[in-house]
Symmetry: D2
């Protein structure tokens, strides 16, 4: 079988290098192109020295025509706004795309404009692009020309919340999502807050009350369940490379914790990467993998849902490969370890 | 002026070494005695190599008579249960004590028995020992023979909550305290979960729904305000040596965030270590110090209070020295930096 | 093709869990047995929660007969001494073994007794068991019943040194190997020095002048080159989970740095995991992988060789799988990523 | 007594904030001025949020006249080149200066030009400015208008080497200084290599064979001993905020390790911050302090000297305060803990 040719657009950041790392052990894929305006002409191992001797590829300028000609699918690791523009050109040239940016995640242009930019380069696609969580939207993903790769925080919140809301086990109001993320979520662009000596040995909240992943959680849970979530989302920068833990406070509509665990186990019984566990999940248990661990606990009147993912894998590159596998009819697990 | 002679009981752990570190720069104090059953006979610099050439003292067996004879005040860093027994003997022999354990924090024997042990060696003192937060209980601390040094998590929750409850700015029900602590809070006894390779690069909740600091928060806020708090408390182990961030979700009774900030500023205007700030606090901003940073933010229908302390300083050794300063009529800031 | 059945002996530690992690994505292998005296009867996911939902296996008591019957090859992650005894029983029962301990690495019983124990359970094998570095000893490994998996530090020192000594490019005297290792090298048994708050934010040397990996380096370089190395080895505990950097100071016998790089490139041109690079290697570039990066630099009269590996992968579990692949006629890269 | 007024020039970086942290608890000092071109007009707590409520000072433009008028001594935390120019203006206006840059450390203009810049704004001072290690050069420091605050790496190498060279205990040739530093040594300017996700969980050498601290070590040991050192210096970036460990390989001229320890103990018997210890020093033992721990060990034909400092304290801000104390006739320990 001919290998699926993947292009990596915006190849300098962490989600790009993580995609390359995983794709290198995918048996049905070859990395055909890696693009970056600022690093074009450099060997990829110059940009990411971990690939020295492992991937012999020169970074090229992003040319939609060349990308569409040379790839079966492109991973767009470009920032929002820029991504939609490139995605449009590539898709129109006949190449499928998995978009890591937020450009196609939300269901309406209004919502996009409220939280992102006044102009969307391909706004008519909002509402038509599937949200790349195969655990919830596999059917839509299979045949799609563009898949919106989920945000990292939303992945950790939607997977535990959506089935419990759908099953009417918990109320959709008064939900608190208190999330803790590793520093790689802040990207590879040098800035003060991402410096080792600023982030190390410290934890702090940021984006309190106004983070863009809050409307994404609400929108996607709504898309899956039909319910309008009322939730507060507080992200925290945690001194570790990778990992997200979401501690989610919900109120039961009568279901016991055991019944909630049962709902979750039923939902994910055939999902290869989602594990409903009895122990308290730690981000380390899923670090470097596409796996998710979820549990639920009683605490006074509240039920606490705890979910962990690796923000760079299930929260980005791994989800993209899982989506690629769905889009090309492969076993979801290919290239994603055991 | 003769120096105040301090004894350190249970000198092997982190709260003990942090006490020594701070006391070494206290101008009015000398460390007279350090005790430990298992390390008796060793130079202190054998137990804590950071003190080589800085403190010439041999660890001794804990003898209440010798402690009372040689010290004006003892810091008991012993575990609960064992601590109360030793504290009783020392106090009866005429020495004052600052107790780092939980033995004298709670207001009733019932509560102690419910959360700690069936037997309390000096149960009649519960309700009579002041809680060592000079910001709230200075008057009681001044003349007390025993002061209960506060728990680390409770310090970070009580300081922002108590004044706002007292001012009727927020509801006392439905409060969520989501706390993140460095690993030193788990102590210096070797155990699997405290190993570097278990705790590093990972965050996880523990004690969900049943941590002993929850009743302490409720009891002390109640003691100060007369209100019965209804709150959930979730601690998380965070990959850093020290620091606690508490992210506290409360509901306003009508007060704006600005009004809450005003209440807090009024309350702590003459407290040298509590700072009500406009920025989002990070634990690093207070690491190694006795300072506290608190702020409040709106997030949907909720108000989020954020407070940071160093669990080993304001959450343990620094609070003890602040209490010592109150008990001996000194400026609260002595030995605690600028 | 029937899968190769692997047994993991001593399944509780980090080299065991890393072996499981890698074997789970090896297409030709199944994990048949995992043993541990202390954890027998527990599901493996109880011991290593990262495998929840990923490996359904109960830890069993180590019974040589059962192991030999159920496995084609065993990974012995037992401590030295205990390992040799078990290896002997298993091999005699017809199962091949890759031994992670130091029991079969050294070439003579004398040397073993000098550095390890007075008694060796199977001392007559010393000198007959191949050293499991396929880059240097592939032929001996292929048909061997027992392979001695290399020590982590020695791997990082032997790979750069052996070819340069063999080529007479450098002197074999006056060599300094200054190595820095992550904390996982200290194992998973709780002890003071491995605690997060002891190892974090700190670097220190240990075993100065008397570490057991020094004679291993000398012995194996000698076995490969016929030369007797005179070298000092200083290991350092570095605050990170995994990784070894060896900074090796050597004197040229006339060869330039460029010529040394050429020797190394020639030696490893067909070795899939060893990369001779122009940049300065960082342990992060090989973290989680079986890869090695090596370079050489001039510094005054000295030449500095720098080599990085992941101590748990190329320094333990990955090397074992590479050896397994050699022993069973498979591509060395199988199960070890791209 | 009137307090000594200190100015902090270049107040945005880590050595500046560390100076402020320490000066806040110095009983005889007040921080009068803090300057920064880019942050002028901001409260200092905006630049360094750890000082909120602790230091009420606005950052100002650097005006030599205003600095000289308002300060008794200035800490110049400016980069080399820029520093010398400012230092000249301030000293000529009558203010004393402790210069954190390398501008006045080396003994000759030639050496400066070889390793730094072709032009030196005040080159005639080279050779006249004392090197700010009071342990070796106290007499010269006392009355000096300008003191060159030592480099962090050189401090860790000179303190163990100089007395042993002077005592002819070790050879001055063939010395290897293998140093490991925390990330704060790289400064607070955002750049790729200082990002958390680049530096964390990784160790790497840098500046191999060409780091500017090598000639500083040689020059200062030469100034103290009259010997020309032949040494190689290799710095490594280590994943921790602060701390330097130097592992120094030397050859004995006949002295035993015990005799070397005796030489060091004699040299530093009245130095309050240098401790010759029997244990293996870890950077954590001196973190946050101005202390130094040194030991010596035999390893084959070599002797290994091990020294640890905190690069931001004894390697920068603490040394500056120690120099300030010398310059103003105070106890060296003031403001530097116990």
């Amino acid at each position: 079988m001919r290998k699926i040719r993947v292009g990596i657009l915006g190849a300098t950041g962490y989600t790009a290098s993580e995609s390359i790392r995983l794709l290198l052990s995918h048996p049905n894929v070859e990395i055909a192109i890696a693009t970056s305006r600022q690093e074009a002409g450099q060997p990829i191992a110059q940009v990411h020295p971990q690939f020295a001797g492992r991937l012999d590829l020169k970074v090229s300028q992003p040319e939609p025509g060349a990308i569409a000609a040379g790839c079966d699918v492109a991973f767009s690791c470009l920032p929002h706004g820029a991504s939609a523009e490139t995605v449009k050109a590539i898709v129109e040239a006949g190449c499928r795309v998995i978009d890591f940016s937020a450009d196609f995640r939300l269901g309406t242009l209004d919502l996009y404009q409220q939280w992102y930019e006044p102009h969307h380069p391909w706004g008519e696609m909002l509402g038509k692009v599937p949200y790349g969580l195969p655990e919830l939207f596999e059917k839509e993903i299979v045949g799609a020309p563009v898949v919106a790769n989920p945000g990292c925080y939303p992945t950790s919140a939607i997977l535990p919340l959506a089935p419990l809301i759908a099953a009417e086990a918990i109320f959709s109001e008064g939900i608190i999502v208190d999330s803790k993320s590793g520093v790689s979520g802040a990207g590879r662009t040098p800035k003060l807050g991402s410096l080792y000596c600023e982030a190390n040995e410290s934890i702090a909240a940021y984006g309190v009350g106004n983070h863009r992943h809050q409307p994404e959680i609400v929108d996607i849970v709504g898309r899956y369940t039909g319910c309008t979530l009322d939730c507060v989302f507080t992200p925290h920068l945690t001194p570790m490379d990778r990992g997200i833990l979401s501690t989610i406070y919900v109120r039961s509509r009568g279901a016991s914790v055991a019944e909630m665990m049962h709902v979750l186990r039923q939902q994910y019984q055939s999902a290869p990467f989602v594990h409903v566990v009895d122990h308290l999940p730690a981000t380390k248990f899923v670090a470097g993998t596409n796996h998710v661990q979820i549990t639920a606990r009683q605490a006074g009147d509240w039920v606490i849902l705890l979910a962990v993912i690796d923000n760079l894998v299930k929260g980005a590159a791994g989800a993209a490969i899982q989506n690629l596998n769905c889009m090309f009819g492969l076993d979801q697990r290919l290239g994603l370890g055991g």
